[in-house]
Amino acid sequence: MSTEILGTIIIFLFTMMLAYPLGKYMAKVFNGEKTLTDFMNPLERLIFRISGINPKESMNWKQFLKAMLTINMLWLVYAFFMLLFQDKLPLNPDGNPGQTPDLAFNTAISFLVNCNLQHYSGESGLTYLTQLIVITFLQFVSAATGIAALVALFNGLKEKTTNNLGNFWNYLVKSTTRILLPLSIVVAAILAFNGTPTSYDGKDSIVTLQGDSVQVSRGPAAGMIAIKQLGTNGGGWFGVNSAHPLENPNYFTNAVETIAILLIPIALVFALGFYIHRRKLAKVIFAVMTFLFVIFCTINIYYETKGNPAIDKLGVAQNMGSMEGKEVRLGAAATAFWSVATTSTSNGSVNGMHDSLTPVSGGVVILDMMINALYGGVGVGLLNYFIFIIIAVFISGLMVGRTPEFMGHKVEAREVKIAALITLLSAFLIKGFTALAAYMVIHHPEIGWAVKPSAWLNNPSYHGFSEMLYEYTSSNANNGSGFEGLGDNNIFWNVSTGIVLLLGRFLPIIAPLAIMGLLANKKFIPESPGTLRTDSYTFGVMTLVIIIIITALSYLPALGLGPIAEYFSIY
């Protein structure tokens, strides 16, 4: 086995070793048990006192969602205006301009919803101030929002019958102070010591070996990059994200950043087991997610290390694999592994260009985002998986001749309706908007917009189609990575992806919590020998089948016209 592949395996094993105790720790934090980070207590109390919050106040699912949506709306308005007027504000050593309204709309939403789709380059599109108090701030709180929502789900699962899903503010603050902040400090320190800038000075200029003078952007980047990775945000300081040598200097930082992508999403699966005292359930969920994750990694590593057949035909040796769009210091395997990690978790940071992935790998990362529940974004990944569970519970309940139930609560028409709508939503947003874009490209290529649809695509044919499909899939999954090669900083893309981002974020949080709220309110039915155990591997397989079938049925034609057609045309 090559060292490169061994490297990815070690990274993954190390992630799991760290995620397990972290999961245990997080369960303790939300249970209010004693932990190492109790020194944060005074800070939290101060925050609660200033904000006039009683962290012990219970909330039902409607109150919980109301609190969540209100504060998110406030953040959106704040971010939008900050970005619009950033050129008039301090800490702008490079003299970058303010964002256009449509770009500010897109950027504010994009970071609010934990997506971090970037239709700009950080070096020129933002100032140090907005990088810090808009971008980095939203990267913390959007991740904390996701975790808080998930803890509400945990509470519903934990109690037999309850109205109380916990206190949103309490979880929001504690996710930040006890989980995101401490971990970010560790990762940021590692990055800083490996050469990632943490400076408030503006651009530096260097003279290259060829004797040219080059301007190099800098900034207080290490902290932002840490939370970008840990909070499944993905929006980089620099335009090319972690492919940039200052954002991800070497193989070691690459390993650390990869671990940071997966760490919290995996740990939250374990936290579920510890928090609701059903470790077997967590184990089964982890097994299902890992099963698909490992398959995807294997496919991508195989195709990326094998190289591009078109180059083979030219008689050019590609011992390092398909290196187009990849960094030599990281290698093909590490980039392939990252590509799956970042799309599984709705992170969206990249250490190589996904546009340059071979067709199958490109298809896999799109598929991965369509599923969007293999570990998934912090908090929201498990919420998405919960929707699949509800549908699996319903169908398998029928198959064993019992009215479907999950964790002692009957799953009935109302819950199925909500779950079905959410399943529909992804298909509608992704395919509907891709179809709209494809329609514009074909039927109105020369329409009088600032950027004509004919100029959107850098690649013709199947690959161009994949670029559009990827953009909306990434937006819906709140992933934020791009196939790039797409002219996306214009009104059409800024506004349409902005809409997809908002709907793709909040409806999939509202729906599972609504289902949980309804379920938790019902009478608890104790398990009997006739109950279908949801913490069995049989049920795990059932969920896996549901995930595969629903995704395949919804997206096969689209994937067929994009990556699959491309694959068959060059292999």
Partner: protein, 693 residues
């Protein structure tokens, strides 16, 4: 118990005829819209009709060949008809089933009688049974057919209920008590009764059941609604898939005909389960009816499948009838003959089944030793005074003309009597009493003039095969609870031997109620069976209450099912019918959705092969041509519906092997099978079409 089999062949010619006729009537869009999946297919069919007509008139060829479009239209039309046929056939079968029950009671002459202040008028008027109203009274005499369901208010009669239950032995019904209910269509064999009509015409349970089967008042069960929503969501997903395919295809420079779009859509949406869904529900009701159970709603049958706890009366369910005397144990110094004589004497006026069984046993013992016959029947009973059993004395017996007091009763009652009179209790008797009780028997102690003479042993006879049935229930996850008036010791013994999980001993009517409440408060679903008026509250409280047809009107009103056979073990069948109903739905849904995988592989390459030859690699079935591929998929989609009708109507078998094992099994058969079957089917149809195309 002999059960009359009412089997109707699956495709009975007469029923099939009606069903075919109905399948066309059901094409009415106003009726179709209740089934969103098939409704969309109907719209697709209409569109294809318009396309074909347009082509025929204008000669336009951009939409493919005319014969091809007409073929697609025809297949889609047949698909809709097949789905309608499935539902119509299920309805027809259910209706035939119910009609055969109802036939007997239609327009029987009824001898109406009017109630007067303190009795009934002498004269009767003969009217048609259909004119009887709720609260009317009628008279029935030997030889009459009872015209209407009702309750006996006066008299006692033997009745042949075989028309309803299939049970040939006549039953006794009398005013007052728990056996006062009569059913229309049954025949009086002896005596005369006055009956009060308890149901309005057209509202008897049977009428309600027929309406449920006919679909007129058939309401979807909550579970069915949830499944319909899920299927509608799948349909919407495929609408999105098909609509977005148009710009996608434009982008890829691939013209796609309307026929191809509609074919893809119809193949993808879950038409198989969509077409069979209501048939499955109706067939479930029909199966209940076939088991001679009248369910008041489809929901009741489904709930039965979820039952966690089953309350069963000991007598008649777990044991055969009543306790029987099995042994005489005289005390020391009392001869066997003498003890049998006094035991028999003590029971001479005892009409309880126990008392009768003592006489019977005494007779058979005496017949064995001929000489003693004289002793028993030469006894002079003139002047003897019989003492009835009362709850207070807990004993009964006889006081002979000469003043000899013979008493029999529970051990402690007789013991108190004896001790009070200053006599001692023989040690061997006391020992025997304990032994009998420990073996699940009931000891009856007999005393003469307050002196204990011995013990009679009464034993319950446990029904053969009952242990296996309880074992089966346990595997289904149902807890069985025996309800009995026996003391805890006896109850425990019988519970052990019969294999029930729990028992309620010395049960009073309110104990049942409390037990049900307690189980329900912990979230369990409870089923019970009952017949008496004092069971009514518990029947109403239980999630599934099955009342016996012989039970009182109150009991029948309270429960949500009625068992025409009066068979207490029927609940077990009802539970299985409920489970079967859900399983059939679940497995066919899985099968239907799994089918889509193969259909994608047939249609998607066919759509794009002209402009993207690379996608030929996806044509893994190696179908001949795009047209043939699409036709094969659509034909398969249509014929799978009638092929699955037998399964939908008979139901998928339930196997009590544990939930996870059952899921694995059904997932393998209907999930994996659902993926593989269409690959084979479509390929075969394609080969067949190759002969013509």
């Amino acid at each position: 118990m002999k059960q009359r089999k009412r089997s109707i062949k699956l495709f009975d010619p007469a029923l099939t005829g009606t069903a075919i006729q109905q399948s066309f009537i059901k094409l009415n869009p106003a009726l179709m819209i209740k089934n969103p999946v098939m409704f969309t297919v109907e719209i697709g069919t209409a569109v294809m009709l318009v396309v074909s007509a347009w082509q025929a008139v204008t000669g336009d060829t951009t939409q493919g060949a005319l014969w091809y479009n007409i073929t697609i239209f025809a297949i889609l039309f047949i698909t809709v008809l097949f789905a309608n046929f499935a539902e119509a056939l299920a309805e027809a079968r259910g209706k035939a089933q119910a009609e055969s029950l109802r036939k007997t009671r239609e327009d029987t002459p009824a001898k109406k009688i009017t109630a007067t202040g303190n009795g009934f008028s002498k004269e009767t008027t003969v009217v048609a049974s259909s004119t009887l109203k709720l609260g009317d009274h009628f008279v029935c005499e030997a030889g009459d057919i009872i015209p209407m369901d009702g309750e006996i208010v006066k008299g006692i009669a033997t009745i042949d209920e075989s028309a309803i239950t299939g049970e040939s032995a006549p039953v006794i019904r009398e005013a007052g008590g728990d056996k006062s209910s009569v059913t229309g269509g049954t025949k009086i064999l002896s005596d005369r009764i006055i009956v009060k009509v308890t149901t309005a015409p057209g509202e008897s349970f049977l009428d309600k059941m027929i309406a449920l089967v006919e679909g007129a008042s058939r309401q979807k069960t909550p579970n069915e609604i949830a499944l319909t929503i899920l299927l509608a969501a799948f349909t919407l997903i495929f609408i999105i898939v098909c609509v977005t395919l148009k710009p996608f295809a434009d982008y890829a420079n691939t013209p796609i005909t309307i026929a191809a779009f509609i074919s893809l859509f119809v193949c993808l949406i879950p038409t198989t389960i969509g077409g069979l869904l209501s048939a499955i529900g109706i067939a479930g009701m029909d199966r209940a009816l076939r088991a001679n159970v009248i369910a008041k709603s489809g929901k009741a049958v489904e709930t039965a499948g979820d039952i966690d706890v089953l309350l069963l009366d000991k007598t008649g369910t777990i044991t055969i009838g009543n306790r029987k005397a099995t042994n005489f144990y005289p005390a020391n110094g009392v001869s066997n003959k003498e003890f049998i004589r006094i035991s028999a004497l003590s029971s001479m006026s005892d009409d309880t089944p126990e008392g009768k069984s003592i006489i019977e046993l005494a007779k058979s013992n005496i017949e064995k030793s001929d000489t003693s016959k004289v002793i028993l029947f030469s006894e002079d009973l003139s002047g003897a005074r019989f003492i009835k059993f009362t709850a207070e004395t807990r004993s009964s017996g006889v006081t002979m003309a000469n003043g000899t007091r013979i008493r029999k009763g529970a051990f402690d009652a007789i013991r108190n009597m004896t001790v009070k009179a200053g006599n001692t209790v023989p040690a061997e008797t006391e020992e025997k009493v304990k032994l009998i009780a420990g073996n699940g028997g009931t000891p009856l102690v007999v005393a003469v003039d307050d002196e204990i003479k011995g013990v009679i042993e009464l034993q319950d006879i446990i029904k053969p095969g009952i242990q296996e049935r309880f074992e089966r229930l346990r595997k289904m996850g149902v807890k069985t609870v025996m309800v009995t008036g026996d003391n805890p010791l006896t109850a425990k013994y019988i519970a052990n031997v019969a294999g029930v999980d729990d028992f309620i001993a010395e049960a009073k009517p309110e104990d049942k109620m409390n037990y049900i409440r307690q189980e329900q408060s912990s979230g369990k679903l409870v089923a019970m069976m009952g017949d008496g008026t004092n069971d009514a509250p518990a029947l109403a409280q239980a999630d599934v209450g099955v009342s016996m047809n012989s039970g009182t009107q109150a009991a029948k009103e309270a429960g949500n099912m009625i068992d025409l056979d009066n068979d207490p073990t029927k609940l077990i069948e009802v539970v299985e019918i409920g489970k079967q109903l859900l399983i059939t739905r679940g497995t066919l849904t899985t099968f239907s959705i799994a089918n889509d995988v193969a259909k994608y592989f047939a249609i998607v390459p066919a759509l794009f092969i002209a402009s993207i030859p690379a996608l030929q690699s996806l044509n893994i079935m190696n179908l001949k041509s795009p047209e043939s591929a699409i036709l094969s998929a659509v034909i398969f989609n249509a014929i799978i519906i009638p092929m699955l009708i037998p399964l939908a109507l008979k139901g998928v078998a339930y196997k009590p092997i544990g939930a996870s094992a059952l899921l694995r099994r059904n997932l393998l058969i209907y999930g994996l099978g659902g993926i593989i079957a269409p690959f084979i089917g479509i390929k075969l149809i394609d080969m067949l079409l190759g002969v013509f195309m």
